[in-house]
Amino acid sequence: MKKNLILKNFFIYFSALIVFFVMFFPLYGLILTSIQPENIIRSRNLSFFPKEVIFTHFAEVLKPNHISNIYEGIRNSLIVSFLTSFLCIILAFPAAYSLARLNLPAKNIILGTLISIYFLPTILFVIPLFVILVSYQLDDTIFSLVVPYTAFTLPFVIWILKSFIDKLPVEVEEAAKIDGCSTLQLLIHIIFPLLRPGLIAAFIFAFILSWVEFLTPLIFTNNLKISTVALGLFRSTIDIKIGQQAAAAIITLIPVTILMIFFQQYITKVVLSGSDK
């Protein structure tokens, strides 16, 4: 029995190691490329442990006069992602409450339709949206990004908030109602504070999705002035300097990674609360 246990442990640690390497190696490669001189990256006796660590690629990318200006990209992405997440929460919070607690007819059909939209091909909606935006000369604006992003993210955010509201105890609301609390007061003063973890999770979710969105800005914006980070990074792939490209990729990655690591708890909670329903 004891021998069996050792064997089992050996097997577990061995496979954990393999999983770690396979999942992490690509990212490690990117980091390695970003901190080594161009001539070493391009040489054939490449080593997987850096002998010489430099940060000039990062410095180059972060220079204000670099070909694809990363500050503009980060600023635009921050504005767009914040606006999108904010709008999503404002719209989704009452909608989720209505779906979770109120006597809304055809509740399941509404929720099902909202979620299933997400699985339809995005390009189906993008073609006419492009035509509409161009005909009202709204392309190349922040608006042309925030509105589609919000619509794309909204169904998911509603679903997240709904599963969080489902887990709140009903008694609190009933007690408040007996005390003469109107639904609006209930939403603002009681549900909103109780729902804080759910709201944070939903906010992050919307933020990440907007930060990584690529197809929408690619089609709806041509002007470099409102280029997002993701788009800016793609434009830098035309450049042949591989080290700088990797550095730009890491800079794009950092905000989302920090959010992910800090709030992995919340996100896992969302996933868990969704699937065991």
Binding site: G29, A92, P121, S135, T252, I261
Partner: protein, 309 residues
């Protein structure tokens, strides 16, 4: 008497007031979703039967089924449809198997588990453009790690140009997609595994069932209800993939990595043939619906014919 008459109507009034409130709360979301989804979906449907003038932004003329006929007779289109189905199937089979195995691993107790979980979730946070850049560098002909690794191990005698071969390029994109898709599905599988009653396994172990028996007779049937929806969702998402293809190969070489989604993009925003692009978008929609609906319908039929026995 008046009291008795009033009571039901009063409660009905209250009832409908709650309904109105419920609708008011959800209405803004519904309006936004309808403007950005339903209206465009109808618009795309209409212009899939027309020639669209991209400069004047109006319909030139209706051509009935010409767009669809053109697509079906077009080799690039038919091959991209088949490629899309193969691509989607490959990705969701690999992702489902790998995610399930990783979830089984994460369900065990070991040192460094929390760290490993963060590492596994990480690719999900990687923007697909970054993942495109990253895998592009990995498979780069001159500077790629894969070439360096295989060359140093002596597997290949010279550096290979991976992305120049259409078939290899398609699989490189599939690898990139699988790597990005694993985290999300692993988390779902893990939560499914954790919700299973552990008594069942203990009982089976006491009864002398070995690992494989426990897997095939208990774990597999219990996990199937979670695995099937995940599998389908992944299929649909894989057919939608665009960013990685755009960054890595732009549909090339020789159209070898042009999936249907990418084909539509090219028709719409490179050659500006919106009518044909819309027709192709509806073909993609039909395939997507088929993928989602076939299992549902078959399950319904099975229930209908065999359920009562």
């Amino acid at each position: 008497m008046t009291d008795l008459l009033n009571q039901p109507s009063n409660s009905q009034f209250k009832f409908s007031r709650e309904k109105i409130l419920a609708f008011t709360l959800i209405l803004p979301s519904l309006i936004l979703v309808f403007i950005t989804y339903l209206y465009p979906a109808i618009f795309t449907f209409v212009i899939s039967f027309a020639e669209y003038d991209i400069i004047r932004l109006k319909i030139k003329k209706f051509v009935q089924f010409k767009n669809f006929e053109f697509l079906i007779s077009n080799y690039l289109f038919t091959s991209s449809v088949l490629r899309t189905i193969y691509f989607g199937f490959l990705i969701c089979v690999c992702t489902t198997i790998l995610s399930f195995l990783i979830a089984l691993l994460l369900n065990e107790k070991f040192i460094g588990k929390a760290f490993l979980r963060v590492m596994i979730v990480l690719p999900w946070a990687v923007p697909s453009v970054v993942s495109g850049v990253l895998w592009g560098q990995m498979f780069h002909a001159d500077t790629g790690f894969l070439n360096a690794l295989l060359y140093q191990l002596g597997v290949i005698s010279g550096y290979k140009i991976w992305l120049a071969d259409p078939l290899v390029a398609l699989h490189v994109i599939a690898i990139a997609e699988i790597w990005k898709a694993i985290p999300f599905m692993t988390l779902f599988f893990l939560s499914g595994l954790q919700s299973l009653p552990s008594e069942v396994f203990e009982a089976a172990a006491v009864d002398g069932a070995n690992v494989f028996q426990r897997f095939s007779n208990i774990l597999f049937p219990l996990m199937l209800p979670i695995a099937i929806p995940l599998f389908l969702i992944q299929f649909v998402l894989a057919m939608k993939s665009f960013d990685t293809i755009f960054v890595l190969t732009r549909g090339g070489p020789g159209g070898g990595t042009t999936t249907l989604n990418y084909f539509i993009y090219q028709e719409a925003f490179e050659t500006f043939n919106l009518g044909r692009a819309s027709a192709a978008a509806y073909v993609l929609l039909i395939i997507t619906l088929a993928v989602v609906l076939i299992p549902t319908i078959s399950r319904f039929l099975i229930k209908f014919f065999w359920g009562n026995k």
